[in-house]
Amino acid sequence: MKLRFTYFVALWAILLLAGCTAGGTGRTGSGGTVSYGDSQAVETVNTDFGSTDLQATAETMTQSLLESRYIAKAVQPPKVRLRQVKVLADEHIDSKAITDKIRIKLLKSGSVRFLADEANLSEVNKERDFTETSTKKTELKAMTNSDYIITGTVRSIKKATKDIKDVYYLITLELVDPQSGETLWADEQEIRKVQNKPTLGW
């Protein structure tokens, strides 16, 4: 009787394992609740700075910058270097994600040329050093200077009671002439998010 029970348990274990390993063609992993979502969809999981805020900010700023006369009326696409966007909010916001998205959109527009920024300048210098030391090319061209730089800030104001949470974000970007220090273009994106906390819940 005991032996029969052991056989029974072993058979069930085999069947369970077989079920787990049988995946569909071209698919791995078990079932569960994971699924693909629309990367462009409006996301309001909470009041934190999210993907919709990032995408909308990049879109609005790019449109505004392309309309500015320093870009729109330029004879040659100006050379631009991205500088730091300071985050003056009390939550972590990846400001590089904002500038990277704007850079990609501006590059796709064909109206702007971008120079290496702080994030990839060290890699560019490494490549130049490698070229100088490991190839026959001993003299390198000097790097070009930028016509404009882009800087900015991200600020937030948060207010909350036990029933409601209100967050206001202000994202500003500026186009500055590094020779004269003159700010030639600036724009802002305001975002307000309100979260009502449920009075009854788990």
Partner: protein
């Protein structure tokens, strides 16, 4: 005393009815909303019929090498705030999609109109399609 109470009650009822009738007059009915929205080509504008959002204006222009679009939408409801989301697909001369905007939220108060201006950030766009939906649909 009872007569005064009756008069006060009638006055209050009249005030409430007057307030309601004001809203009803300015509220568009569902058939009107659907009819007005169908006036816009479904190739250009796509939306759920029962959204109570009415397209009232649609204009296009060129901003240098870039295609620019302005549309105006109205909340056909009298009192409620309507919060639809919209997305614009930018198409080239052959109708191929060149780019699209992310879904963006709109906030329209009762009976109010909102103007939206969008510009394609890639050159070579000559046509568009606007989709208006509810969040999560």
């Amino acid at each position: 005393m009872s007569a005064i109470r009756t008069v006060v009650a009638i006055c209050l009822l009249a005030c409430i009815c007057a307030g309601c009738s004001g809203n009803q007059n300015s509220k568009m009915n569902r058939t009107q909303v659907i009819k007005q929205n169908k006036a816009f080509s479904p190739d250009k504008v796509s939306f759920a019929d029962d959204m109570d959002v009415v397209f009232t204006d649609l204009r296009t222009s060129d901003e240098g090498r870039f295609f620019k679009l302005m549309f105006e939408v109205m909340n056909a409801k009298a009192g409620d705030i309507n919060s639809p989301v919209y997305q614009i697909e930018w198409l080239d001369t052959n109708g191929y999609p060149k780019a699209k905007t992310p879904w963006k939220p709109l906030l329209i108060k009762g009976n109010q109109k909102v103007k939206v201006v969008e510009m394609a950030t890639v050159p070579g766009v000559s046509d568009y399609k606007i989709t208006i939906s509810r969040k999560g649909e």
